[in-house]
Every structure is written in C-alpha cells, then in structure tokens.
C-alpha cells in the first residue's frame, strides 16, 4: 500500500516551510524546558515516588526532543535546498499525484492581517464591554462592525448583524435559558 505522504514531500520543495521549522523548533524547545523547570519541585506521592510531576515531566522532555528534531530538519533542509533542485523536481511530480490536500496559502495582504486583528479585537471588546453594555449591544457592535469591515454594503451589515445577534440572543437566552448579561439595560 503506498498512500502518499505528500505533505512531507512538499515540505522539501517549499522553502518557506523551513522557516516555520526554525521558529516552531525554538518555541517548542523553550516551552518544553519551561515545563520541566516548573515541575522540578512538585511534590511526590506519599510513598515517595514521582507523582504530579511524572506526566508533565515526560511531556516537557518529549517537547524538547521534538523541538530539537525540528531544528535538525531545518538545518538539513537548508543544506539540501541549495544542492537538491533536481530531486525537488522529481518529488514535485510525485506530489502532483495527490494534490489539494491542503489549500495552498494565497499571498498575505496587510488588509488580511488588519482584519484578523479586528476579529481578535472584537472578542477582546466583548470581554471588556459586555458587563457594561450588555450582550445585545456589544454583539451588534461586533458583528455590524466586522461585516462592514469585511466589505459588505452598509445596509447588509446592519441587517445581517442585528438579525443574527437577535437570533443568537433568542436561542440562547429564551430557548436554552442562558442568563446573558443585560449590562446597564437591566
């Protein structure tokens, strides 16, 4: 059975992939070390063996190991990238036999990043404002703002934002009886 492992192959083709290896390798090693550092003085079982620290210890240790493997791959990939263009074209053909397993990243525009920042910001806005403004007001501001920003006409934004928010509110507050915050309205 030879079901392909195309992503592996692709990774040797794509150069940007390797930079992820470097960054994620460093992060994973640091994170694993932090876990190991935190659990070093956790208590033992009454009988003296490792208790609460055993499992996180193993996780932290494996993280360091995996992080190092990622870094190793990055080093190897850097060397290979220059010399092995011939092989790369060979594997590209192999990759074509099972394409579209992941949607190829389209170029990132700065617009996209601002939009993502606004999505994250809208959730933070909810966290900060909901107790004061109440659920309906907060979420209407969130949805209408985001829909407008993502390029819909203003009346579409207002209509879709208000209707969906009221719908969500009805379902959760009236049908499922979740006490959603009223804010200063209540």
């Amino acid at each position: 059975m030879t079901f392909d492992t195309a992503p592996e192959v692709e990774e040797t083709v794509e150069n940007s992939e390797k930079s992820y290896d470097l960054a994620s390798g460093v992060v994973v090693v640091l994170f694993g070390s932090a876990i190991l550092f935190t659990v070093r003085d956790y208590p033992t079982l009454p009988s003296g063996e490792l208790g609460p620290s055993l499992f996180p210890g193993i996780i932290g240790g494996l993280m360091v190991l995996m992080g190092l493997l990622l870094l190793g791959r990055w080093l190897k990939g850097r060397k290979a990238a220059r010399t092995n263009s011939a092989e790369a074209s060979g594997t590209a053909a192999a990759a074509a036999s099972a394409p579209a397993n992941d949607t190829a990243p389209t170029p990132v525009y700065w617009r996209g990043w601002i939009n993502a920042g606004l999505v994250v910001g809208s959730v933070i806005f909810y966290l900060l404002a909901v107790d004061f403004l109440g659920f309906l007001t907060t979420v209407i501001i969130m949805t209408v703002g985001l829909i407008l920003r993502l390029g819909a006409k203003w009346w579409v934004a207002v209509l879709a934002g208000v209707l969906s928010t009221v719908g969500v509110w009805l379902i959760f507050n009236k049908v499922l009886l979740v006490p959603l915050p009223l804010g200063f309205w209540g």
Binding site: L176, L177, P179
Partner: protein
C-alpha cells in the same frame, strides 16, 4: 424534551424520555407544593401560597430578582440532582427565577469559591458539600466555612464499605483482620487521594488502632469508576455511600460489609454499622444550602425556613429515597455548629493520615 437548563435532565443518568417524564413529575410536584404549601408541611401555619404572604416571608425585600444557585460539582452527579430539585422548589416558593449553575472542577474549590465570592444579598446561593471542611486543610485554597453563611442542611449519607461478590471476606472484621495480618495487600478506592471516602478509610483504620496504610488507597475519579475496577478485579474494596453502589449490590455483583453511620440504613437492614462492631467511628458526605459570608439575617431566616419546608415535604423525601440519598435536615444554627465540628474532625484525621498540605 426539556430544553431548559433548569429542567434539563437533572437526574440525567437516564435517557431523555425518562428524564422528560421525571421533569414533568417535578413540575407537577412543584405545582402541588405551591398549592398545598401549608397542608404539606407542619411548620407553615397560615396559607397564602407564594412568598409574599406565607410564614417564611421574613424579609420584605427578598427576593428582588433572579437567584443564581451554584453547584460545585458536575451535571449528572448526586449533588447536581439534589441541587436541581431544591432549586426548582425554591423557585416556586420564592416566586422567582432560580438558575442552577454547575461550576465544577478543582475538587469543589471553584464552585465553593464562586458561592463565597457572590453578592451577599441572597442573589447568589449554592449547595455546599463536605469538601468545604477538607480542601483548606489540603492546602488547595484558603477558603473555609468562615467565608460562607450556612443556611440549612438537606442531606447526609454515611460511607459504606463494599467488596466484590466473590471476595473472601464475609464481615468487616474479616476484612480488618486480613488487613492487619497482611498490611498493604488490600487496596481500596472511591475518590482521589484525600477525598471524602479516602478520609473515611483512613479514619476507620486509625480508630481501629491500625496503620493508615494497612489498606492502601488508589485514586479514582469517583465511585462509579472505582466500582468498575472492583467488578473487574482491579481493587478489593470500595468506600462510598451505599446509594452510589446500589445497582451493583442489587445485581449481586457487590456486597456491602458495613456502613459508617450512627444507625443502620433502612434500605440495608442487614448491614451493620462500625459502632456495632466496636469501632466508634462515623463519617459520610453531606450537602447543605449556603450563601456568601455576611448575609442579612432576615434573608437567611427566609431561606432557612423555605429550605426546611422543602426538606420536610413528601415530594423531597420521596425524591431522595428513590435516588437512594439520606434525608437529613438541620436549621441554620445546627448546621453551622455541625460544620464547625466537621471541620475540626476532618483536620484531625487528615493530619494523622498525612494529607494536609
């Protein structure tokens, strides 16, 4: 199906249809209680029904809005189903909305903290459990009974000692003799280390003049997984209330050896208490309604009176008996004193068993 959070299958180990029926039964019984408040209980003499005119209306301003009833344990468990029953009844009697909210996790610390941190105007109350007298000794939290206002106790269940049907021990003495002769060979389970049933084990062994490790403890996520281990032969004995073991005992797969109560359980008249076999020790879990510290006396009195009425009602007794829970009502003064004593007793055992943090 009951889609509401309150009526959602509180007794939820049952499939939806039965939960729905029981939800209906709850609603019906709640209706009965409302109309028959006076006749149903001896304590309330004049009958107007509802909160405004009845004998429990000690506070003229309470309740002024929805009440949040916090359950420090997960949905579907024993504390959850008792809380939902009490919450539904309170809603009817106080004529207000009572939202029963599960805040579980952290061995009960999260929910109890949520009760203690609530507004002390009676809008936040909850079901405190025995763990409030244990978790601060364990070093999990600074929170203790001083941070809450006990209102009324509603239930208590003594610990049972249960073995597999084919186990070699016929009586509790057999088990203890074996543990004396072969210290550490017998393993028990029922909660995490330092949980209520672990304390029951440790307390019993200490009172019997044995070492706390003569029967060793294996942590488990609760009595249900411990029972499965018992049935599969992974452990030798479980410590938990007999209600939690009822299905296995009825199926003939497990045998109760003793209970740690003051007197025998009417459901299991053949099972002796520890006191009968010469070990002067009793321990169990209990549940009671409490609020944050510093509550207004009138509000406490009103809630105390309402909860006492609920506990005295036929519906409550029937509900608790069906579910296998013990009915044990105490008023505010008795409950407060009880908690203080419990706290001290738990501290002593946990110290002796080396469980304090």
């Amino acid at each position: 199906m009951s889609m509401s959070k309150i009526a959602a299958s509180g007794l939820s180990l049952k499939p939806s249809r039965r939960a729905r029926i029981s939800g209906l039964a709850l609603a019906l019984s709640a209706g009965l209680v409302l109309s028959g408040c006076a006749s149903g209980s001896d304590s309330s003499t004049d009958s107007a029904g509802g909160s405004s005119g009845d004998s429990c209306d000690f506070s003229s301003t309470y309740p002024s809005g929805a009440i949040e009833f916090i359950v420090p344990w997960a949905a579907g468990g024993g504390t959850d189903s008792v809380s939902r029953f009490v919450g539904l009844q309170l809603a009817d009697r106080l004529e207000t909305q009572v939202n029963v909210v599960n805040r579980d996790g952290g061995g009960g610390v999260i929910g109890h903290t949520a009760i203690a941190n609530g507004k002390a105007d009676g809008s936040v109350i909850g079901m405190t459990t025995v763990e409030i007298t244990m978790m601060h000794w364990q070093g999990l939290t600074d929170l203790a009974y001083e941070d809450i206002t006990p209102i009324a106790q509603v239930n208590s269940d003594p610990s049972g000692i249960t073995v597999a049907a084919d186990a070699p021990w016929e009586t509790i003495e057999d088990l203890l003799d074996d543990a004396r002769a072969n210290p550490g060979d017998i393993v028990g389970s029922g909660t995490a280390i330092g949980g209520i049933w672990d304390l029951a084990r440790a307390g019993m062994l200490l009172e019997a003049g044995m070492d706390v490790n003569d029967i060793r403890w294996v942590p488990s996520a609760g009595s249900a997984p411990a029972l499965q281990e018992l049935a599969a032969g992974g452990i030798d004995v479980t410590f938990a209330s007999l209600a939690e073991n009822a299905t296995m005992i009825e199926a003939g797969e497990a045998r109760p050896l003793a209970i740690m109560g003051e007197e025998r359980d009417p459901n299991y008249p053949d099972v002796p208490t520890l006191k009968e076999v010469g070990i002067d020790f009793s321990m169990g879990s209990w549940r009671g309604v409490s609020g944050p510290a510093g509550m207004d006396e009138d509000i406490v009195a009103e809630l105390e009176c309402q909860v006492a009425d609920i506990v005295a009602s036929d519906e409550y007794v029937e509900f608790m008996t069906t579910a296998g829970f013990g009915v044990d009502g105490k008023d505010t003064a008795a409950f407060t004193e009880f908690i203080v004593n419990e706290d001290e007793a738990k501290g002593t055992i946990m110290e002796a068993a080396g469980l304090t943090g």
